[in-house]
Amino acid sequence: MLVVATASFAAVVPAYAGLGGAPTYPVTASSTSAGALSLGDAAVARYAASGNTAAPAYTVSQTTLPSGTVVNEYITAANTVFALSWEGPTMPPLKTLLATYFPSYVQGLTDAHAVQGGGYGAAVVHQSALVVETGGHMGSFVGRAYLPQALPQGVSADDIK
């Protein structure tokens, strides 16, 4: 695998897009089409661990879907998505965004349903390799998903919002 230069995110191309792979949405300065940004005015923000701004540990790429839902993809320096979050009037396309992790997520939901006998709304799925927290309600959704084993050094789940 190539060593990625700090200024470039294109040296390695993962085999697929989605969680654990390449970003689903284009990572550009104008990724965002509308809406107030929790990250300030930049559509793409680069974060360093422990204030070391010379070597960003990860990047957050924010995209606003046509429905108004905002999706944040958290991207390592090696251009892989280790987390994502969403907020807005519609659910984001989780089957696409969770990619190879989607079947495991659905299986987790199915197992819980078998035990609890109901449920289709807010849920928290905690597996060793995948955490999904989905909340809100019709018209107002919020949630996040991350790979606990792929969080960059110094990054915690609290940073995913």
């Binding site: 449920g119 909340g135 309600h137 019709m138």
Partner: protein, 431 residues
């Protein structure tokens, strides 16, 4: 919206304290990792957030109005599917008959104050009635839609029906029929956000009665053009739908008592009750039994989906809402231990907490609630709980536990009441 309180651990095992292990994640003492609530199996964390003594909130004590008048219907929480699931019986009839033709009573329909519209599983509707429910057609094509929830989705057709609830009647209501076998096209990929909801077993109920503040499940955007994850032809092509053809909150179409609802549940035991009873009241300030004016209710104006803002532990929660379709309180509190296997908050003894409803009328209000050990509650064999919670960030969901001992009002957008003004708004009394 319907929510359920379950946490799952995959067969590979779960370790919240080791979140990020294997090369990444938090450093330092993982028992106090800021990224995850501490597991209950570890020593209970010192409550460094608040050094004042644990003060329990007094249980709410309002009593439901009697079921009997035509604007009331009984609500039951009992051993059906998951706990804390309020159910009513809905009467469904041939459209345009003033709810008199081929009527069928459909029990075990979830009362959901944070979703909008009536959705019924096809198999729960007797065929002689279902065959008379006119399919909705847009642009010459039978209409379908995705109803997305936090962890599941329902792909179904849209039909017109007359709906009656006790003495109230709505004619020609667009409803969603889930699991309609005539819908052979697969759900669009963008709709597949979790578990597919096709059968009554998938739902744990025969349907969902969405009676929140929005009169429909989409609004102007879906009238102006196709919006992803909402309406499609039955061939899966996105389509616009006029507002009056969108799946509609049946209450807003009643001939009277149509400006909102009040959900009134009797209080339950702090250690859980086998079941719970209550009354769903139609109309606000329209009858002798649905007054808001003159009560000491706390009222919040909401956005079109029923959200308002609260402050919790110094953080503003802009997605705060009262949701009868959530079986627990979902909110973020790192000072309460969590059972890693189930995800429930599991303090060794019940803890008291407070939320500040900042925009409330007549004044900003402190709302107290308690959280008990969810593992103990879940093992009790009971089905109604007023103090069950789960950790979830970036929103504050007062679920079913909040409703016991309260009258909770929902004012529909654009409709007015004497005591609430024009909706959308929510309000409650606790005694």
């Amino acid at each position: 919206m319907r929510k359920i309180a379950w946490i799952i651990a995959a067969a590979l095992g779960l370790s919240l304290a080791a979140c990020g292990g294997g090369g990444g994640g938090s450093s330092g003492n993982s028992n106090t990792a800021a990224n995850a609530p501490a597991a209950a199996s570890s020593p209970a964390p010192t409550n460094t957030v608040n050094s004042t003594p644990n003060v329990l909130a007094a249980d709410a004590s309002a009593v439901p109005t009697l079921v009997g008048p035509g604007n009331t219907i009984g609500v039951t929480v009992s051993k059906t599917g998951i706990h804390n699931q309020p159910m009513v019986t809905v009467t469904l009839c041939t459209p345009g008959t003033n709810a008199s033709g081929n009527c069928v009573r459909i029990p075990n329909v979830i009362v959901d104050t944070a979703s909008f519209g009536l959705r019924l599983v096809s198999s729960a509707i007797q065929p002689s009635t279902f065959s008379t429910l006119t399919p909705e057609v847009v642009g010459g094509q039978p209409l379908a839609e995705c109803a997305l929830f936090g962890s599941g989705y329902a792909w179904g057709t849209v039909h017109y029906a007359d709906v009656s609830l006790s003495g109230e009647t709505a004619q020609n209501v667009p409803i969603q029929v889930i699991g309609d076998s005539t819908l052979t096209t697969a759900a669009p990929s963008e709709c597949q956000v979790g578990r597919p909801l096709v059968t009554t077993a998938d739902l744990g109920a025969n349907g969902i009665l969405g009676i929140g503040v929005s009169p429909n499940d989409c609004g102007l955007a879906c009238q102006q053009g196709p919006v992803s994850t909402f309406y499609y032809t039955n061939a899966g092509v996105g389509t616009a739908v006029p507002i009056n053809g969108q799946v509609t909150n049946p209450v807003s179409m009643f001939a009277q008592d149509n400006n909102g609802v009040i959900l009134e549940m009797a209080q339950v035991s702090d250690t859980g009750s086998p079941n719970a009873q209550g009354t769903l009241v139609f109309g606000i300030d329209t009858q002798a039994n649905n007054a808001l004016a003159g009560t000491s209710a706390t009222l919040m104006r909401t956005n079109g989906n029923g959200d308002f803002t609260s402050m919790y532990n110094g953080t503003a929660q802009t997605k705060t809402f009262f949701d009868s379709g959530s079986t627990v309180m979902f909110f973020p509190d790192l000072s309460i231990p969590v059972d890693s296997a189930s995800g429930y908050y599991a303090p060794t003894t019940t803890v008291g907490r407070t939320s500040i409803l900042v925009g409330a009328s007549p004044a900003s209000t402190v709302l107290g609630f308690n959280i008990a050990n969810g593992v103990t509650l879940n093992a009790s064999g009971n089905y109604a709980f007023n103090n069950l919670g789960i950790y979830l960030t970036r929103q504050f969901d007062f679920g079913m536990p909040f409703f016991y001992g309260r009258h909770v009002y929902y004012g529909i957008s654009g409709k007015a009441s004497t005591g609430g003004g024009t909706g959308p708004y929510v309000a409650y009394v606790s005694s």
